[in-house]
Symmetry: C2
Subunit: 460 residues, 2 copies
């Protein structure tokens, strides 16, 4: 049976898509100061749209960084209250020259919409807005109480919303959160994400000489910060991918045998994954763990860039005075950012080679989280997904970090339903990010039905 | 006894300095394509000046890169012929924000002239030009035959002049070369450099995944090119500075016991050097060798920069598809660039971690060289320096590379007199490069007297 709201969504698909394109044209790159006004503009556009569709108390909430967008509709007494979360900021688009179409000019190809933020997270966040519009248009009322909170700092650590959540504001009182910032395990396979890795994002700064020196004159006497960084990094992780920081694996709670068994039955072809998603000569990682275990349930360490020295074309024979490495560690239950960072920092100071000064800085962090699958909202989501997609839902984890989900759990005691419609090859954080357009439409329908089912009398 | 040419030089000091400043204002950065026309402009200015002072056959010689400047004066039959070499290109000025005055606006402070190229090598090369002007102005003739060859690619490997030298052109027929691109061992201490290290400058490119990937989704499965590079670099050199490439030390001819003894008597205060020149927490390098041995007579390995990934402010959680390290090795007699590069490349391929493809590229290279101190030109230089500076000359080596000196020896059988007037704290290749102005003046007088002594009848 198709609901009236679902019918409305179907009849307005092409308008919804054009509106999403307009939103994607705003380069709301939260990490780049030159885009600060673009980030605010995206917030203002969303606030105006939420007001237009009939949400109430719409406003921007200022933070130390980019603003939050708030809206609510609270006229369903006795019904649960949903907190709909999304983020309207995006990753930087570089390297620009690898995009087949401009990152901020959304382009349709092969049934996909290509743009920075298409799936992470503007496209997915906008599904929430369009589901609310469809429900309000269909019935002049929502089937439950709804609060919407959107942030513009997810890609830079989400400090503003984290501080807001920690203050227990009345605007966030709810029974559960709905977060669409994850992916389906495979095309057409309805998926709920019930676990996320946490993260510490750090910088290691190594300083040697007081100024840049000529490598001919001083090579053999002056410490080289890049060599020192390489020596440090080589001791953080071995060739097998095992992290060498003492005690790093001490507090890990491994997945249950039931969860591991469910993962084993997922449609996962490691060789296909290697070829089509990663494209490397071979996959790497800790021996004795499957790819899904390694990326979902094991801590991993990556280096993202090493600023400093000479990076232009050609040759400059310099021993730079300093060099930096941007390094992150992904965390799994029950690791904590604070303890992990302390172990990491202390170990680096311990292994630092002679002649250099080393600073280890925490840039941002987030807790890992695990959602119990027996809560009623996960059950309602499963029912909605079955209606729309005609299949049983699979429960997966994600290797990524959505710190807000941990904050909702810790501060507000809210379970999160992570119902995402991205696909594994959507190029998140990379050139040619995309969103399958049919998933955008079916995602809207899934969210409509989920909110309708949660609001049904039997559940209230 | 002061020669007439020396008198001329003294009377024209302030004009010479102003002319040098004009030359330093031209940002002739040879490695940056956007400065190509500036490099040519510097060549044209020098050619015009050589013609103005009375040199003949002045012309630019085109190469595949930046042009050579040639001039001669060959009217001293029976006298030796000197080949005066210098370079008019400079290193990039970055990091710009560490300069106290703009790199291309020469500024006098505390008796020094600050500018990119002040000492390396525009200031020193210009001493040759002004010595020739003084000699020609004083006697309407030079005391010997002189050819001048200036290049604009020294800082990027000097391929153009290397190819020119290898072709044995008649323009370079001479008895010896004079090169002023080195430094005095200490202020006021006349110094001849009789040994140079060679170099291979390389890039190691590591490729993992086919595209940039999200470190949350793929951390634990996708290879990280920066981690792989760090693992490689950590195996190139140990904490003590020992290079770990098999066979790298096999062909080294150590300094003689006499040379080592002479080095021991040089006025060198290691703690002062550490504090004032390097400024690091401690000095590094191979155990069992003094600082002078390590920087003059031992091969060393340095990393200059590691382009790739995310180097902006803040955080981007990317596993980059590729990363590169710019790495050089300094060579000492009798190492060769070809054999050293082959050992280095083969070793890197051998130690490359799993999951990645590694390319090792040679960007440019130069031979090490050692000049016998008993040749008559070195003797004449010693006499000239004694007159001007009132002290015995010390013979040192330089850790830097001047590949052209090796080319002059190998192809043209010319011994080089490396008479330099830079100082150890002149910040070559670094912010706030400088040249002591009194050394510019006394350097001109030293070169005048050197050429006069070589041209004296007793020596012809």
């Amino acid at each position: 049976m198709t609901s009236i709201a679902t019918e409305f969504a179907r009849q307005n698909q092409s308008r919804f898509l054009e509106e999403l394109k307009s939103l994607l044209r705003i380069p709301s790159v939260s990490t780049l100061p030159e885009h600060k006004s673009d980030v605010r503009r995206a917030a203002e556009v969303l606030a105006a749209e939420l007001a237009r569709i009939g949400m109430e108390n719409v406003r921007l909430i200022e933070t130390a960084g980019h603003p939050l967008v708030y809206a609510d509709w609270l006229h369903a007494p006795g019904k649960p209250t949903a907190l709909l979360y999304g983020h309207y900021d995006v990753q930087p688009p570089d390297p620009l020259d690898e995009w087949l179409s401009p990152p901020f000019e959304p382009t349709e190809r092969n049934g996909n919409l290509y743009a920075r933020g298409a799936v992470d997270d503007k496209g997915q966040m906008y599904m929430h807005v369009k589901a609310l519009e469809s429900l309000l248009a269909a019935g002049k009322a929502l089937p439950l109480n709804v609060r919407v909170i959107l942030e513009g700092e997810e890609e830079v650590g989400g400090e503003g919303i984290a501080a807001f959540v920690a203050s227990h504001p009345p605007e966030l009182q709810a029974d559960f959160a709905l977060v669409s910032d994850t992916e389906m395990f495979a095309p057409g396979l309805p998926t709920l994400c019930v676990g996320l890795r946490g993260m510490i994002y750090t910088e290691i700064e190594v300083r040697g000489a007081k100024t840049d020196l000529h490598s001919g004159m001083y090579g053999g006497a002056a410490p080289n910060p890049f060599v020192a960084l390489a020596q440090i990094i080589a001791k953080l992780k071995d060739h097998s991918g095992k992290i060498l920081i003492p005690g790093i694996y001490d507090n890990i709670v491994p997945p249950s045998s039931e969860e591991l068994a469910a993962w084993q039955s997922l449609p996962f072809d490691e060789e296909h994954y290697r070829q089509t998603e990663v494209g490397s000569r071979e996959l790497v990682g800790e021996a004795g763990y499957s790819v899904l275990e390694r990326t979902w349930a094991r801590p991993t360490l990556d280096v993202h860039g090493m600023p400093g020295g000479f990076i232009g074309a050609g040759a400059k024979t310099v021993i730079p005075a300093k060099a930096t490495a941007k390094v992150s560690i992904r965390l799994v239950p029950a690791m904590t950012p604070a303890e992990t960072f302390a172990r990491y920092r202390d170990y680096i100071q311990h292994i630092a080679p002679p002649g250099v000064d080393v600073d280890v800085r925490l840039i941002h962090s987030g807790d890992p989280c695990l959602i119990p699958v027996d809560n009623p909202y996960i059950q309602a989501a499963t029912a909605a997904l079955h209606e729309v997609w005609g299949k049983e839902t699979v429960f997966i984890r994600s290797g990524g970090s959505i710190p807000i989900v941990g904050d909702f759990a810790r501060h507000l005691k809210l379970p999160s339903v992570m119902m995402g419609f991205g696909l594994p090859d959507d190029n998140l954080h990379a050139p040619n990010e995309k969103f399958l357009i049919s998933n955008f439409y079916q995602g809207i329908e899934s969210i409509i039905r989920f909110l309708e089912i949660v609001g049904e009398p039997a559940r209230s």
